[in-house]
Each structure stands twice: as structure tokens, then as C-alpha cells.
């Protein structure tokens, strides 16, 4: 056995207030948050004449619309996400194994494409409506069944598009609950439904909150879909200020208010959660056993689980395939491969950047917890709620400044060096999608006992070795899961890519958008399908990863 003697000591004040980890994390947070701070800074600028007009005439109604939309989506994604997660986690019914993965699929479809597709499926010239009209004389106005271009329509489409966030997190959560907690509920005389509402639902709150807040932030930054659906939200106000009133200042100022709103929402949830804990403390872990359902109930469970898959994936994708066949001669030209390559590379790079930063910051907060560190991470992750176009403005400010300085130093007269490069785009995605990556990393880190790090430290490992030799190997499924979510998000991303991309640079999402915005939805189908296909590959990988996650530390 060895005798360990050597070591070094650091002055204690420095250790308490500052160290390399905190320093670097802080710098990274600042860099990521800088564009957001630019937006924030606009709050203190005086508004111009259009600001006056917008705030008095438009905002009240737009704000109410936004709240209705958020409320509706929150309710619906919770309902769909939690009930399906509960069913596949708790019960055995035909097809459960397949359904539990199919339920994730809608995440691969960009919300605006889902919207355009559903309109195309229900409008006057859609195959379904034409068939029903010609054969059964069905006439329900311009759209089949109901006017989908409306608030309820927007709520339904956005929910179908975003419920997988809730489903994924809730399902992982249920899987990690010890059976004994739920059995305790049954033994205290509660019926299954009551166990669901009184134990499972409150218990899944952290997962629910994380999932719903991701969904709501997506709702807040959406412009394409609400604009097409004629639902004027706060974000419509932002773009109206910019595009219609020609006042970018007002637009950014409004985004600043949006940021404050999101921050308050997140903080309120944190405070309300307080010191309550949701992991099963000290209990022996016993995985859930699915209960067999009788034939009728099994059938009902199957229908419940199939409905969101059908509406959120199978039907729209079938429609897209139908359109793609009609338009394939237009779509698959020689440049299609380069679109695919661009999309794929960009999404991979962004995922890598987001995840590296998230791991760094997550580890720092875990190892040196402090209020300031936590606030910094919250701030650095609200970019998810800000419309991409606004982030682009916040980002151009520092980037163009740096370019000017670079040009001054090198004495070159011309051009812009880093703005409009891949680097800008990847940086922008990092600002925008930090929340997605960081939340996954944070949740898998909280699930991993800190004593593992401490054991490693007591065995002579530095913090860095602890991170690379212990923590990362243990949480790597979670890391990969986070990376894949970011990958899928970047694949679907549009406004940032549009404005910040280099010359002659197209992605699949752009190709799809250009046709769709030209009201040529069928022509947009092939590119959409490929986005979905690549997204699907990522989901499949995600599935493999999540399967492995059973392999986490249980005392």
C-alpha cells in the first residue's frame, strides 16, 4: 500500500470565491448570454412613436391571446404527455412496446410543417375533403370538420408537436420511480386513477415542469405557425413592430419583456418547489411491473396512445409522402445532397457545442454550488423562448463589433470576417438551444449521486479527472440524449439559419420553408420528409440511448 504525502494547498478565500471552473463557466455563460443581454439592454432605450402605438393598441389583445395559447398548450401537452407516459409505464396492452417509441416521433416534425400539412389535409382541395364532398356531399366551409386556422387549431397543432417533450421526461421519470411508492398508494386504498392523480402526477412534477416549460418556450418563440393561423400573439407583436412598423428597436424591446416574463415564470416555479424533493430518498429501488389489462381496457389504452401518434405523425407524414410523390420531379435536384450535408453537419456541430458547454457548466454548478452560478445558468438558458430572428439581432451586435476590431487590427479594408460564417451560426444555435441541452444534462446529473464525485476525489482524483473518468462515463446516455434533442431542434430551426447563414448556403429546413412560404406546400414536402427522416434516425438513436439509461447509479 502506498503512502501519500505530497499535495498542495490553496488560500481559502480564493477557493471559496473563485476558481478555474467557476471562472471558465462564468465566461462561457457570459458569452452565451451576451446576445440576450443586448436584448435586455434595449429595455432601457426610449421607445419611438411606433412603440407608443404598439403598446397601447396591440399589446393588450396580443398578450391575452398569448396567455390563452400558452394555457391551452400547457393543458393539452400535459394531458397527452402524462397520460400516454403513464399508460405505457404502468400497463401491458397490445403494442405497448412499439407505441412507447412511436410516441416520441412527432418531435421530428417542425411545428410549422405540421401546421401547413394539417391545413393541406383539411382544406377545400384536400383529398379527404374532395372525397367526402364528391361522395357524401359533405360541406363544412373551407375546412373539413372545423376551421383549423384559429386559436383552437393552433393549440391543437402546437400541442401535437410539443407533447413529446412532456411524454419523454414523464416516462423516464415514471420508469425511475420505485414501485413501492405507487404500491403504497394502492395499499392505502386508492384506486388506480386516484393513485395517478394524487401520487404519480404530483411526483412527476419536476419532469412535468421541465417538459411543459420546454413546450411553452417553443410556443413563445413560434412565429411561422401562429402567423399563418391568424393568431396574433406577443411574438406577432414583436414582428409586427419590426416588419410592419419598421422599428427593430421596439421589436427588441418587446423581446426584452418576453425574457423578463420567462425568467419570472421559471423563478416562480423554482421558489414554489422550494426544498421539496422528488427523488425517492433512501428507498430500495424496485422497478415498476406493468399490470396486465383486460381486453376492453387494453383496447381503450391502445386507442388513447395511438391517437397522438396518428394525428401527430402517421397522418401528416402520409400526406407528405403523397405530396412528395406528386412533386418528386421538382424536388430532388443535384443540390439536395448538399442540403442534407449542411443540415447534418450544422446540427452535429451545434449539438457538440451545446453539450460541451452544458457539461462544463453543469459540473461547475454541481461541484461549486452557489446562488450566482445558478442564476447565470438560468439566464444563459432563456434563449429558448426568444424568437430566433431577435436572437440574431442580439448576436450581430457583438459579432460585427468584433469584426470591426479585427479589421482594424489587421488593417484590412474589406469585409466581414466572422459574421456570416458557420461559427456565427453554431454560436447562435448555442444561444438558442442551451436550454434543451442544459436541462437534459442537469436532470441526469441530479439523478447521479454526488458521493460518486466525492468518492473519486477522496481517491486522489482531481476535479477534471473526476469529470472525465467518473461522471461522464456514468451519465453518457443522458449526454447523448441531450445532444440528440439539440440535433433534432437545429435540424428544424429556421429563422436564425435564414438570416445568419453564409452566402450560398441552404439547409433542408430552408428549402421546405421557401416553398411553404410561397404557398406551395406540396413542393415543400420532400425536404420536410428528409428533415423528418434524419430526425427519425436521431430518435432511433435516442431510443437506444434511453434504453441504456436503466444503467444508472442506484444505492
Amino acid at each position: 500500500m502506498i503512502k501519500k504525502l505530497k499535495g498542495f494547498s490553496t488560500p481559502i478565500r480564493i477557493r471559496n470565491y473563485f476558481n478555474g471552473w467557476m471562472g471558465i463557466s462564468l465566461l462561457v455563460c457570459l458569452a452565451v448570454a451576451f446576445p440576450l443581454m443586448v436584448i435586455f439592454g434595449h429595455l432601457f432605450k426610449t421607445g419611438d412613436s411606433s412603440w407608443q402605438h404598439i403598446t397601447t393598441n396591440l399589446l393588450p389583445a396580443y398578450t391575452i391571446n398569448t396567455l390563452i395559447l400558452m394555457g391551452g398548450v400547457a393543458l393539452l401537452v400535459t394531458l397527452i404527455g402524462v397520460s400516454t407516459a403513464w399508460l405505457v409505464s404502468m400497463y401491458k396492452f397490445p403494442g405497448r412496446r412499439v407505441f412507447q417509441w412511436l410516441l416520441v416521433l412527432p418531435i421530428a416534425i417542425p411545428a410549422y410543417i405540421l401546421g401547413f400539412t394539417w391545413v393541406g389535409m383539411l382544406d377545400y382541395t384536400s383529398p379527404a375533403y374532395v372525397f367526402l364532398r364528391n361522395n357524401f356531399g359533405v360541406e363544412t366551409g373551407q375546412f373539413l370538420f372545423f376551421n383549423i386556422l384559429s386559436m383552437p387549431g393552433a393549440i391543437i397543432i402546437l400541442s401535437l408537436s410539443f407533447y413529446p417533450y412532456v411524454y419523454l421526461l414523464a416516462r423516464t421519470w415514471f420508469m425511475q420511480q420505485s414501485a413501492s411508492i405507487l404500491e403504497a398508494g394502492y395499499s392505502l386504498g386508492h384506486k388506480p386513477l386516484s393513485v395517478f392523480f394524487r401520487i404519480a402526477l404530483p411526483l412527476s412534477r419536476p419532469a412535468l415542469v421541465a417538459g411543459v416549460s420546454l413546450a411553452l418556450m417553443e410556443v413563445l418563440n413560434d412565429y411561422g405557425l401562429v402567423n399563418y393561423f391568424g393568431v396574433d400573439t406577443f411574438t406577432t407583436g414583436i414582428f409586427s413592430a419590426w416588419f410592419a412598423f419598421g422599428s427593430p428597436v421596439s421589436a427588441i424591446k418587446l423581446s426584452g419583456y418576453l425574457m423578463i416574463f420567462v425568467l419570472i415564470l421559471l423563478m416562480a416555479e423554482r421558489m414554489d418547489r422550494g426544498n421539496r424533493r422528488y427523488d425517492s430518498v433512501g428507498s430500495q429501488f424496485r422497478p415498476l411491473r406493468q399490470k396486465e389489462l383486460n381486453r376492453l381496457n387494453g383496447f381503450l389504452a391502445m386507442i388513447t396512445v395511438m391517437l397522438p401518434i396518428l394525428l401527430g405523425f402517421v397522418l401528416p407524414v402520409s400526406m407528405l409522402i403523397y405530396w412528395s410523390i406528386q412533386t418528386s420531379h421538382l424536388a430532388f435536384d443535384h443540390r439536395f445532397l448538399s442540403l442534407l450535408k449542411n443540415s447534418f453537419l450544422l446540427a452535429s456541430l451545434a449539438a457538440l457545442a451545446v453539450i460541451s458547454i452544458s457539461v462544463l457548466i453543469g459540473f461547475t454548478v454541481r461541484t461549486f454550488p452557489s446562488r450566482m452560478a445558478r442564476f447565470m445558468t438560468r439566464f444563459a438558458t432563456i434563449g429558448y423562448a426568444i424568437p430566433g430572428a431577435i436572437i440574431a439581432v442580439g448576436l450581430l451586435v457583438p459579432f460585427i463589433w468584433i469584426d470591426n476590431q479585427l479589421a482594424r487590427i489587421t488593417g484590412s479594408a474589406g469585409g466581414i470576417i466572422i459574421t456570416g460564417t458557420w461559427f456565427t451560426l453554431v454560436f447562435a444555435y448555442t444561444v438558442r438551444f442551451m436550454a434543451v441541452g442544459y436541462n437534459s444534462i442537469e436532470s441526469v446529473m441530479t439523478k447521479t449521486s454526488v458521493s460518486l464525485d466525492e468518492a473519486s476525489r477522496s481517491l486522489g482524483m482531481s476535479n477534471r479527472n473526476t469529470l472525465f473518468k467518473v461522471l461522464i462515463p456514468i451519465i453518457h446516455p443522458g449526454i447523448l440524449a441531450g445532444a440528440l434533442l439539440v440535433f433534432i431542434d437545429v435540424l428544424k430551426e429556421l429563422p436564425l439559419t435564414l438570416i445568419l447563414r453564409p452566402f450560398n448556403f441552404d439547409t433542408l429546413a430552408i428549402r421546405a420553408f421557401e416553398f411553404a412560404s410561397d404557398e406551395r406546400v406540396p413542393e415543400a414536402a420532400p425536404a420536410s420528409l428528409v428533415i423528418i427522416f434524419v430526425g427519425l434516425m436521431a430518435v432511433l438513436l435516442l431510443r437506444k440511448t434511453l434504453k441504456k439509461q436503466g444503467y444508472v447509479h442506484h444505492p
Binding site: 411606433s50 402605438h53 393598441n57 391545413v119 377545400y124 382541395t125 384536400s126 383529398p127 360541406e139 366551409g141 373551407q142 375546412f143 376551421n147 386556422l149 399563418y228 393561423f229 391568424g230 409586427s240 419590426w242 416588419f243 410592419a244 412598423f245 419598421g246 405530396w323 406528386q326 412533386t327 453537419l345 452535429s348 456541430l349 449539438a351 457538440l352 440574431a392 439581432v393 450581430l396 451586435v397 460585427i400 469584426d403 470591426n404 479589421a407 474589406g414 469585409g415 466581414i416 459574421t419 456570416g420 460564417t421 458557420w422 461559427f423 429563422p495 435564414l498 438570416i499 447563414r501 453564409p502 452566402f503 450560398n504 412560404s517 410561397d518 404557398e519 406551395r520 406540396p522 413542393e523
Partner: protein, 339 residues
């Protein structure tokens, strides 16, 4: 390991950037996103050896990017699908005069800036679409006549967020002043068949579905629908008639897609060449036959489809005069309650 592989690929990708410098280039920020445009740019490169570098995005965002980039902006040319944006770009000092007799003489004076800071290169008419057979075109007259009681609950039009509507409003403001324009907008809102939803195509389908009887849209979309891959959509479009309003007074409102050369254009000479190319017969023919837009070049013969809708008188008010009204347009819409 997967991570390492991703890292390697990403380093390679970053290194790739910045290579491939062409000797002669022209850098274009375009608010139009048509494949026909890109084909024409490739054609231009073949003819002149000048490479066209292109960024396509929302025109307001492009203007903002141009403004922020300032004197170091790489952009030579800005293209928008709406005159209003070019007027704003000139106001902000982002453009310079296009010094080309060859180009400017091809554009009628009311479709270009008074100092040639921008030139229109295609036109779109905002017309009234009606169902043939159900409505007799003699019932129709002007944008203003749609506010009459007989059209109550029958007018379909999209939201005021749309640029085409905003420029239309600017032209109404020019014709009738603030008060008159607001009254007109109120009249239209009163007669709307439903809340303004969807895009121009949705308005036309709304007629087919019987939700309304007339729609204010661009001719361009009828062209697209007539050539749609969806048979039913072609069917719907073929039942529609195109009516050019205000033939008895100021003329039908026409918007343009326009081109401007940036104030700090690093490749001014090439930018002028591209501008001339877009106005020449070959390009103008492509816009007309593939995009169903009206060419501004009067020497170009219209394709059959455009001819079938007939000749019309377009609003003779110079588009650059709309500048003073473009900022008021949205406020008037809001005051009138046009969502």
C-alpha cells in the same frame, strides 16, 4: 468514440469555410426565394464569369443586417419582393444610385426610385378574384366599391401583417388621405366574410368553399394554383375570374419586386451588370413564364396566361411616392380594426 468523430468532422467543416474565393463576385441579399431566380443567377455566372453569392431571408431582417454591418457589409445588391422595403432602405441610407442608362431606361419611371436608388424588375397586381358564373364582373368596380352594403359578409382578404396589404394601404392613403383610408379599411372590415386568416391561396379556396364571394389577392397566386400539382386546386383556380379594379380612376394597385445597390457595395461594377441582366429580355421572360409575374420591361411579350387576364391600367402614382405613407399604413389598419 462518437464524440471524437464529431469533433474531427467539425474541425474540418470550420476549416472549409473561407476557402473558395472567386476572382469576380457579386454578393446578393435577396428577400425573394424562387428557384427561377437562382437559375438566372447561374446563367449570369455562365455568361459573365462573375459568381453570384446569395443569402435569401426575410427582407426586413436583411435590411437590418445590412444596416448593422455598416460600411463593412459584403453585400452589393439587395432584392425585395415589395417596394415598401426598398423605400425604407433608401431612407436609411443603405442604397446608392444605380448608374446605368441601359437598366433604367427599361423601367417605367413610376416603377423606380426618382434618383434610381432602386429599380422594379417584376410587377404584381393586387386584384379582385371572383367565381365565374356566380358573380358577374359588372358588379365589380374598385377597391372602394367593396365597402358597399351589397358586399356585406362576402369579402375575403388576409391579415394586415402582410406586406402586399400594407403597400396597398399606402396607395389608398395616397389616394384618399388618412381619414379616407381609415374609412375604406373600416368598410372592408365590416364586409369581411370571416376574420382574416391564411394566405392568398386560402382566400381563393374560401370562395370555392362558399365562405365568401370575392377575394383581394395577387394575380401571381392564381398562376401558381393553375399550375399546382393538386388537380382539385387547378380545378378551383380555373373557376376563378380576375378583375382589375379601379380601371376608371387611378388604376389597379401594382407592387414590384425591386433591386437596389448598397451604399458600400464592394463590387459595384458587377452589381450593375447583374441589375442589367435581370432587366434584359431573357430574365424578364423567365419571371413572366415561370413565376407568373408581370415583366417591367415593356419590350417583353407576355406569356399566354398573363395575356388571358387582359391588359389593365395600373396605378400611375410613382411607387417611390408611397414612402411617406408606408409608415402610416399599419397604424391605419389597426385603427380600423383590420387584424
Amino acid at each position: 468514440m462518437l464524440l471524437k468523430r464529431i469533433l474531427a468532422v467539425s474541425v474540418a467543416a470550420v476549416l472549409m469555410v473561407g476557402c473558395a474565393r472567386h476572382a469576380e463576385v457579386v454578393n446578393v441579399y435577396s428577400g425573394r426565394h424562387y428557384q427561377a431566380d437562382e437559375r438566372l443567377f447561374r446563367e449570369f455566372t455562365e455568361q459573365t464569369g462573375i459568381r453570384v453569392n446569395l443569402v435569401k431571408a426575410n427582407s426586413d431582417q436583411l435590411l437590418n443586417r445590412l444596416e448593422m454591418e455598416g460600411e463593412r457589409s459584403p453585400a452589393d445588391i439587395i432584392i425585395t419582393a415589395d417596394a415598401g422595403r426598398l423605400i425604407i432602405a433608401k431612407e436609411k441610407g443603405l442604397l446608392q444610385s444605380i448608374d446605368s442608362e441601359k437598366a433604367t431606361q427599361l423601367v417605367p419611371s413610376h416603377f423606380r426610385d426618382s434618383e434610381n436608388f432602386w429599380l422594379g424588375f417584376t410587377k404584381r397586381a393586387r386584384v379582385i378574384i371572383y367565381p365565374k358564373g356566380r358573380i358577374n364582373p359588372s358588379e365589380l368596380d374598385s377597391y372602394e366599391s367593396l365597402t358597399g352594403d351589397q358586399w356585406n359578409g362576402r369579402v375575403l382578404v388576409r391579415s394586415s401583417q402582410n406586406h402586399y396589404n400594407q403597400t396597398l394601404m399606402a396607395s389608398v392613403l395616397a389616394a384618399h388621405g388618412e381619414k379616407g383610408a381609415e374609412n375604406w379599411a373600416r368598410g372592408i372590415v365590416n364586409n369581411m366574410a370571416r376574420n382574416p386568416i391564411g394566405n392568398d391561396r386560402d382566400q381563393i379556396k374560401g370562395i370555392a368553399a362558399g365562405e365568401g364571394d370575392v377575394a383581394i389577392t395577387n394575380t401571381y397566386y392564381i398562376g401558381l394554383m393553375l399550375n399546382s400539382v393538386n388537380r382539385e386546386e387547378r380545378e378551383v383556380a380555373s373557376q376563378m375570374g380576375v378583375f382589375f379594379p379601379n380601371q376608371n380612376d387611378r388604376g389597379t394597385h401594382v407592387n414590384i419586386s425591386g433591386i437596389g445597390i448598397t451604399a458600400n457595395s464592394p463590387n459595384y461594377k458587377n452589381a450593375v451588370l447583374l441589375t442589367e441582366f435581370l432587366l434584359a429580355d431573357q430574365a424578364q421572360n423567365v419571371f413572366a413564364s415561370e413565376n407568373y409575374e408581370y415583366p417591367v420591361n415593356p419590350n417583353v411579350e407576355w406569356p399566354e396566361l398573363l395575356k388571358s387576364w387582359g391588359e389593365f391600367k395600373s396605378d400611375t402614382l410613382p411607387l417611390h411616392n408611397l414612402g411617406e405613407f408606408i409608415h402610416q399604413a399599419m397604424i391605419t389598419f389597426n385603427n380600423a380594426g383590420w387584424e
